[in-house]
């Protein structure tokens, strides 16, 4: 590539060409002018990414190009990550979110550039912090980044990056201190009193909130000191002593029984004497009682409902169990108003979901509010089985799983991109399988004979140092040796070692529309023969079909699970395999590899039966994108210890299969009719 910078008019023409701007009556004049100043290498990268983005949507391409023109200079090495963050945001929430994500990213980048090298990025400490917080008591908290440190009592927001401290360890400590104080806000009831009456008396609400946060920090640090003294010491070291003017307040708030109300009282005193400049402590985050109390209120309603329902069930069960007959234990009926066993005393008696709800309520009130302990009124409730299970409708409306997909052009993932539905394969004609078995009876017999020979069995290993039985041959020999003055061998035992094949095989069957006709028949016949063969071998195997229609409808059909037997039902499902829609392979590989991983066998094998390359309707999956994604999925499987093999009826398969499966890991069958005869042999060679 030449190092010559492109001129504005050249850039304009290239952009116009890439994004079809003239059709949309847009002009690339302004971005081109800005791009002109960049080095050639960066210019080319902007053009490249604009093109990549335009493949997803023209608007997205235009957005990337125009924002890149303004911001690329600031982004430097992070330009690629910046674009990926934008594309990711587009996949998640659309164009407006993309614009915001890109601007935020660039802003963060600029502010970072001003800072030292000792700063710590949130991403670098997220895993550690999240484990740390998880271990602490209380409700589970999510971690996220935001412009300032604060919590709504369910999520902790922490800054993208910290470098207020002179070294990296200090900045890590600062993150920990911030997170710990925010955790303490949720754990020790900062939002359990309503601060609004007091806040209303302040002319400057913002200042009042900053003071409130400082007082709460004083109180919470003392609470921390009681539970986690080491942590409190670290925080105290980090902030230095409290200002002398506040020492009295700090001492008051450090008393063991102090609550958020005491912090508000301190705030009221301060208002009366007149507040000065708010002191700034780097580890004290912001406090937003309105947001937090809103989240708290919603949570309380939720927790109350869960707890009440559980108590109702318990009460009803207890009364049905004949508690009414026992004079020492009055009936615990759900007849309204009657108290049930005290969950504060005995949380363990509650089912897990209700136990969590009760703990959460205790956190939100300091105790479980009495109204939560009343059973609902008469007739308001009927015992239902499985109240804690989510309602499952007959028709699946929620995807069973989401899978990431690899976009080779971006060199990154599209998160949660594929919506996967797993369902039972439809049952087909039961006579069909019988007919196939009769037609191939001879073949089946010979396959069975050959496969039975492969079966793993107890093989006695002779001449071992140790074993369950004595090896008579070795013993006779040793005796003879000794008699003749030779040195007898010490290997005198037989050890029975079970030679287990320890193999689990997953068959992934292409049910795409293109298999209609001969190919589908061949697939089904092959599966029947395979089942006969593998039954003779005793390997664990499963069969799943896959098809789909765009990324939001990736379907997996269960034909035979690992634990299913090869019985009439399974055979009917094999007969029921039919040509459906498209072949989005990556997501199917990921899902089935996940199922295969649950098998505790030494060897795991994923065999794909297919008639062509990965393909899907409409979007970019056809072509290189699909091949790259599938390749990636197969690589992931290999890293987990799954070997993959592909049997395909696609004469052009040799073009792309080596790239997907590796040179020796596929078979191309040129004629669908030959598949049933060949498949068993392929399997035998593969697993011998």
């Amino acid at each position: 590539m030449s190092q010559r910078k492109l001129f504005a008019h050249e850039l304009e023409a290239r952009l116009d060409d890439l994004l079809l701007l003239s059709l949309r009556q847009r002009s690339a004049k302004a971005p081109a002018a800005q791009l002109e100043a960049l080095p050639r290498e960066l210019q080319e990268r902007v053009l490249h990414w604009a093109a990549v983005a335009a493949q997803t949507s023209d608007d997205l391409g235009w957005l990337i190009a125009s924002l890149a023109a303004a911001q690329a200079a600031d982004l430097g090495d992070e330009f690629d990550d910046w674009v990926r963050a934008g594309l990711d945001a587009y996949d998640r929430s659309g164009l407006a979110a993309t614009r915001k994500a890109l601007n935020d990213y660039a802003e963060a980048c600029r502010s970072r550039a001003k800072h030292s090298a000792h700063g710590i990025a949130f991403a670098a400490i997220e895993g550690r912090l999240s484990h740390f917080l998880h271990a602490l008591d209380g409700r589970p908290l999510k971690l996220a980044t935001g412009p300032q440190a604060w919590t709504d009592s369910e999520t902790l927001w922490l800054p993208e990056r910290l470098d207020a401290m002179p070294d990296a360890a200090g900045n890590r400590g600062l993150y920990k201190a911030m997170a710990a104080l925010l955790w303490a806000q949720t754990r020790f009831g900062s939002f359990n009193v309503d601060p609004e009456p007091e806040l209303d008396l302040w002319p400057d609400r913002e200042a009042a909130l900053r003071w409130f946060a400082v007082f709460e920090a004083m109180r919470l640090e003392a609470r921390l000191a009681a539970e986690l003294p080491g942590l409190a010491r670290d925080i105290a070291d980090l902030r230095g002593p409290w200002p002398a003017a506040l020492a009295a307040d700090a001492a008051k708030l450090a008393r063991p029984g102090a609550t958020a109300a005491d912090s508000l009282a301190a705030l009221a005193r301060l208002r009366e004497v007149g507040a000065g400049e708010t002191p700034v402590f780097p580890h004290v985050g912001a406090i937003d009682p309105v947001a937090a109390r809103r989240v708290r209120a919603a949570r309380i309603v939720r927790d109350m409902a869960v707890l009440r329902r559980a108590l109702n069930v318990m009460a009803a069960t207890a009364s049905r169990a004949g508690a009414a007959d026992n004079p020492d234990h009055p009936p615990l009926a759900a007849e309204g108003g009657m108290q049930v066993p005290d969950p504060q005393a005995d949380l363990l008696a509650l089912p897990p979901a209700a136990r969590e709800a009760a703990k959460s309520l205790m956190q939100d009130f300091g105790e479980i509010p009495p109204e939560a302990l009343h059973a609902a009124g008469p007739g308001a409730w009927q015992p239902v089985d499985g109240v804690d299970e989510p309602v499952t409708a007959g028709v699946t409306t929620q995807p069973d799983a989401f899978y990431d997909e690899w976009d080779y052009r971006r060199g990154s993932w599209r998160h949660g991109w594929c919506h996967l539905y797993e369902m039972e394969g439809p049952a087909g004609d039961r006579e069909w399988v019988d007919e196939v078995r009769t037609r191939h009876a001879h073949l089946i017999r010979s396959i069975r004979r050959r496969f039975e020979a492969l079966r793993g069995e107890d093989k006695p290993q002779k001449r071992q140092f140790d074993g369950e039985e004595i090896d008579l041959d070795a013993q006779v020999e040793a005796r003879a040796d000794r008699k003749s003055g030779g040195e007898p061998s010490p290997r005198l035992f037989v050890h029975r070692r079970r030679v287990e094949r320890s193999l689990a095989v997953m068959f992934m069957v292409d049910m795409s529309g293109s298999t209609k006709g001969w190919v589908n028949d061949a697939e089904r016949e092959s599966l029947v023969l395979l089942c006969e063969a593998i039954e003779a071998l005793g390997d664990r195997y499963a069969i799943y079909g896959f098809s789909g229609w765009t990324r939001t409808h990736c379907d997996i059909y269960r034909i035979k699970r690992f634990d299913d037997r090869y019985d009439v039902e399974t055979r009917r499902r094999i007969a029921g395999i039919e040509a459906r829609d498209y072949t989005r392979m990556g997501v199917a590989v990921r899902h089935l590899a996940g199922l295969l991983m649950r098998q505790n066998t030494r060897h795991k094998l994923l065999v794909t039966l297919s008639d062509g390359r990965p393909d899907d309707y409409g979007d970019e999956y056809r072509g290189r994108y699909g091949i790259e994604d599938t390749r990636r999925a197969l690589l992931e499987a290999r890293e987990k210890g799954i070997r993959s093999y592909c049997v395909t009826i696609d004469r052009h398969g040799a073009d792309y299969l080596p790239q997907l499966y590796g040179p020796a890991h596929y078979s191309v069958i040129d004629d669908a009719k030959k598949l049933p005869r060949k498949i068993a042999e392929i399997y035998r060679k593969l697993t011998a």
């Binding site: 998880h134 602490l136 986690l228 942590l231 670290d234 505790n600």
Partner: protein
């Protein structure tokens, strides 16, 4: 019971004493702090000739409980740590060749039956599936052990007792116990003791003061919350006692906890760092 069908141990002309199963008799009481009614249930099961199954996470006192009960019931104890290559012969016994002779050697299970001991099969699910079947006749009304290789049908004396343990927490689905085995046992659930009790145990076993023991228990509780979120299992009481023992030898608490608790639990960097943070936070 007709003991006449039970021949005594074979007359060992050659010296095989080095291979004999050790029958452990505890002279002093092994320390054990009862949490619930487990000692009562165990003693009743022992009197009724019922086998017992102990379930619970690692390091919560299952083995110590058996030692304690063996002492209390004044019976010898035979412990077998099961592994995935444990064969029937490893439990029942085999012929050894000494010089020109074959000499029968009782396995630990047979030895325990003969001696009327408590046989404790630790982590039974680790053993091969076909191996666990040999204990079946010992666990029902027959209370007998067929020793096929010797053509011997060994009836268990009243004092013989079979105890197995397993950890339902981390084992894979494949290592589940078969219902046919499982339903022969009286089962006792073990869990970490509650904080004050556990602190007493740590103080007693580790030789540290009450305050240090409480801190260690606090730390243990925090790591247990990480089960399934970075750790397969939190720190058991045993690990806490190890840390206490190091502290009692003069190590700084943070150093002792890192060595005795954090490092054995985790390899993954984020989890390790988080454990370090927790140790720092507690002390």
């Amino acid at each position: 019971m007709n003991l006449s069908r039970t021949p005594g141990p074979p007359d060992a002309r050659a010296d095989v004493s080095g291979f004999a199963t050790p029958l452990v008799r505890h002279a002093t009481e092994p320390y054990y702090h009862a949490i619930g009614d487990e000692t009562g249930v165990f003693a009743a099961a022992a009197q009724s000739g019922l086998p017992v199954m102990l379930k619970g996470p690692t390091g919560c006192g299952k083995t110590r409980f058996v030692q304690h009960m063996a002492w209390r019931l004044q019976r010898p104890l035979v412990t077998v740590a099961c592994h995935d290559d444990l064969t029937t012969a490893d439990l029942v016994g085999r012929y050894l060749i000494i010089g020109d002779e074959t000499v029968w050697m009782d396995g630990p299970l047979t030895a325990a039956v003969r001696a009327g001991a408590i046989c404790y099969l630790d982590e039974i699910v680790e053993a091969r599936k076909d191996t666990t079947v040999v204990i079946h006749p010992l666990t029902d009304a027959r209370r007998a052990l067929p020793v096929e290789k010797r053509g011997e049908y060994l009836e268990a004396p009243p004092d013989f007792m079979l105890v197995i343990s397993y950890n339902p927490g981390y084992q894979s689905v494949l290592k589940e116990m078969k219902p046919s085995t499982r339903q022969r046992f009286v089962a006792l659930d073990f869990d970490y003791p509650e904080a004050t009790v556990e602190a007493n145990i740590v103080a007693h076993e580790g030789g540290v003061d009450a305050a240090t023991a409480q801190q260690l228990v606090k730390l243990g509780g925090l790591t247990r919350k990480l089960k399934g979120a970075g750790l397969d299992e939190g720190a058991g009481t045993r690990l806490l006692v190890h840390a206490a023992q190091l502290i009692a030898k003069g190590m700084a608490p943070a150093v002792a906890c890192t060595a005795a608790i954090a490092r054995p639990l985790a390899d993954e960097p984020d989890t390790r760092d988080a454990l370090d943070d927790l140790i720092r936070a507690v002390f």
